[in-house]
């Protein structure tokens, strides 16, 4: 194969793997998403003893098909990018490696079924594929609103933790081990379960004074839930009324992914990754 044809092949593969604008790129992305979801579903189902016993063999076959596909993809990525080492040690590079590792380890070492759970990191790969679109723009909006209220939410969380420690200790002193409040950590656990209105009922106060305190805590928790909601809501409303100048207009962005470090969110006109300086493929090849 001539050097020229290799370069052309690389360019074509690049467009498929890193781009989203070509039909091939889209098909590749959708295949990946389906395989990831399938593979996550299998990790989940394999943990059920009954399914593992009856369908274990089918699971193995599908798992190997997925692993081989991911392995080929991993090798191609290394081959294509200009600086492979940068990709290999990037965040997504490590995830790509971890998502194929357990299957191969299982070949050589026995009793690595526990490692199967590591395959769960494949879930993270989904974020790379869900590049910049309507949804990530909405996601960005939400994260931005949450970030703007970080300090308020921290104060709130601090107050909740203090309250939970004080209430848990009080209930431990009032109820004691007979009611299931065997120690202060258990009391704090109960306080969290109650204040957040989860209410398992595995531990619940039995003495009248304990039930009274519990009632106060519940009504408190009822009111307290208003605080984070209020913070987030007002932040979102404000963001809508006065979109700050720095806000990204997501329509300007194309869903391209840097082949070297996996960063997404590059401007349409960008030719180089703003994170690592690698060549952005779609632009390069026009």
């Amino acid at each position: 194969m001539s050097k020229e044809s290799v370069k052309k092949l690389k360019a074509r593969l690049s467009k498929t793997i890193f781009g989203v604008s070509t039909p091939a790129g889209k098909a590749f992305d959708i295949t990946l998403i389906i395989l990831i979801i399938l593979s996550i579903l299998m990790v989940i189902l394999e943990s059920v003893p009954r399914y593992h016993k009856n369908y274990g063999d089918y699971f193995s076959v599908i798992e190997w098909i997925i692993t081989i596909f991911f392995t080929i993809e991993y090798i191609l990525r290394i081959w294509i990018v200009e600086r492979p080492s940068r990709y290999i040690f990037s965040f997504y590079g490590i995830i790509d490696f971890l998502s194929i590792l357990p299957s191969f380890l299982g070949l050589f070492i026995r009793g690595t079924q526990g490692l199967a759970v590591i395959r769960g990191v494949r879930l993270l790969r989904i974020f790379r594929i869900l590049k910049l679109n309507r949804y990530t723009s909405a996601g960005t909006f939400l994260i931005r609103a949450l970030k703007a209220s970080t300090s308020k939410i921290s104060v709130f969380l601090f107050a909740v933790i203090m309250a939970v420690i004080i209430i848990g200790t009080l209930m431990y002193l009032i109820e004691g081990p007979e009611s299931g409040f065997t120690d202060i950590p258990t009391g704090i656990y109960w306080a969290v379960v109650t204040l957040t209105t989860v209410g398992y009922g595995d531990i619940s106060p039995l003495t009248p004074i304990g039930q009274f305190l519990a009632s106060v805590v519940m009504i408190l928790g009822y009111g307290i839930i208003a605080v984070p909601t209020g913070i987030v809501t007002s932040e979102i409303t404000m963001k809508k009324l006065n979109p700050s100048e720095g806000d990204i207009d997501s329509s300007e962005f194309e869903g391209r992914e840097c082949p070297e470090c996996g960063t997404v969110g590059h401007r349409k006109s960008a030719a180089y990754c703003y994170n690592c300086g690698g060549h952005l493929q779609d632009h390069l090849l026009d």
Copy 2:
């Protein structure tokens, strides 16, 4: 009966069945609503063994009265509309058919009591009767606000599903089958029960580290609930501050129903259904 008198009869029936502006039309609608609620109540009560045993006969009689009424209505609807096939295969046409089917099937086939539940589709008929009024206008407002925040809510749901899968898997690994976390699906089920603050208590962590993780999840869930609330609230507030131009002024609409496809929400001045082109009766007959 002359052709003329048949046409007049059809017109009169049309006004009663499809219109809401005449006293007969209103009475017809109210009768229908009462019969539907009665029939739903009976499906519910019949499932209670005690009631089924004691009042089963009364239920049968009432059920047949309702079925006969609905059957007559169904036949009349077919007879009146210009293109019966279009009505029969429309959404509401199928619902009308399904709501009378189980009773007749019960005549010919034994052991079709399970089919009785199909009668529950009658619940859907209520939506046709609750045509455009103060309530559906409020409903439209709410649906509009929810739709405007679809992409944000999707992102939120996606994040919740991811979180639930990760938390469920972690708890399965930490707690194991002795605490009731028999497999990952059960762990995910527990995570949903906890994150949404439902907290049945059928499965709850027993190890200290599991209880600690559970506490973190609960406080997380407490904060997370703020996000959809914030999204919906700000959307409603914005909609109120700046009602968009495209918003329908509901007062302009009359609660007419297309006799052929069952669509509602036609403009006062409309003579033909905007959905299927069928004649709108009230207008036609003025």
Copy 3:
């Protein structure tokens, strides 16, 4: 006693019982509130077998003191007002009567302890005493905001009821009696318990498909809670941004109570009750 002195006495009593601006009126109101709370507390405590056995006699004595006080107050009210019949058959007149009735019935008839609970209506008397002040003005604001969103909340409630019926029926079909879903009403009860995130855990799904549906319901309920919050919040925010012209400026009102029908919220300058036309005492006697 001369007619004149009787009239003067009536006027003085009027000021005490119906007014709030004099020290005597305030003292009277505070005494009443304390007695009502005491009497409610006693109804609550008497239901505890242990307290009833040990302190039953003390409770009786206190109960009779309160009853006698309320009886004197009731007789005075009848004596003072111009048209006693109007007071007697007014809302608060009936409550005043019901709150002393059980004690006297207990004298003549045996086994009327169940009636003691009727004394609970005394709780309602508290509303009359909490006349127009900072708190009722805040209460008015809240009620107004809730009323403005009645139609939206009705639609929401209707949707919730429909959802609960459908989900309850589905779970009854899926889980069946072995899991505790003995009939459709139980299924609906479970659906309410789950959708509102209460989650007792007395009934919970056991089959995988039931647990999956339950998870969907919970996440749904999680999102649904955003809707009423959004409605109320935006209504309160709008009310604050644009206080409508018709809104009462509560500072203009004095906490006077109509002696005949018990209505409160009269304008400072009012001499007659806007509800029944009775003389408002404070004004009359200046």
Copy 4:
């Protein structure tokens, strides 16, 4: 030691203990926070029988190190301030004393392990150290928004308490002792558990009518939660739209603490405590 050098030493210690702007002051604050958290953690862990048995000795040693550090700090504070009596009887002075008392009492008296919990007051010391910064400014904002809605929240709480009393009494009458509703306080406890959507499940209705009422209560509670959220959210949003003139610009404040009464939040330019008139150290020593 000459009087002059004593004064200089006092001044230096003052800067370290009461100031935050010097490196020594910052290091002192961070050391204190770590010791407080460590000491709280130990109170919590000591309550677990297993840890107490295995690591009890280590806990004792750490506890004494912390106690000695706090004792030295306490003595220094008394020595440094101009009017020791004012510091000793101030809020933080008493807390400082209580946080070292239990360890010393344990030396002389046996069986004072119960007192160990008093060491929990050390948690309160953390508030003094978390002087005015980004977080307390956010905290101030939240407290301000909550205060502005006090009257509305009080009305809401009053309504919730009334509802809970009425519902609890009704359920006691409907369900009776067989379902666990042994008395009205238990009924009220159940009503709180249900209305706040906690739902332990330790008590739950068994009769159909009880389950129906419970369902109504739950849906009610579902709607009621919207009210405090609405109040707080709209208050926060309003505060953001129109920051009132009286609001403190927190950037103007320095995190200085009055050495005599422990008050924080003094203006940058302040030389005397606005609370007790004591000299503020940092300023004094420039």
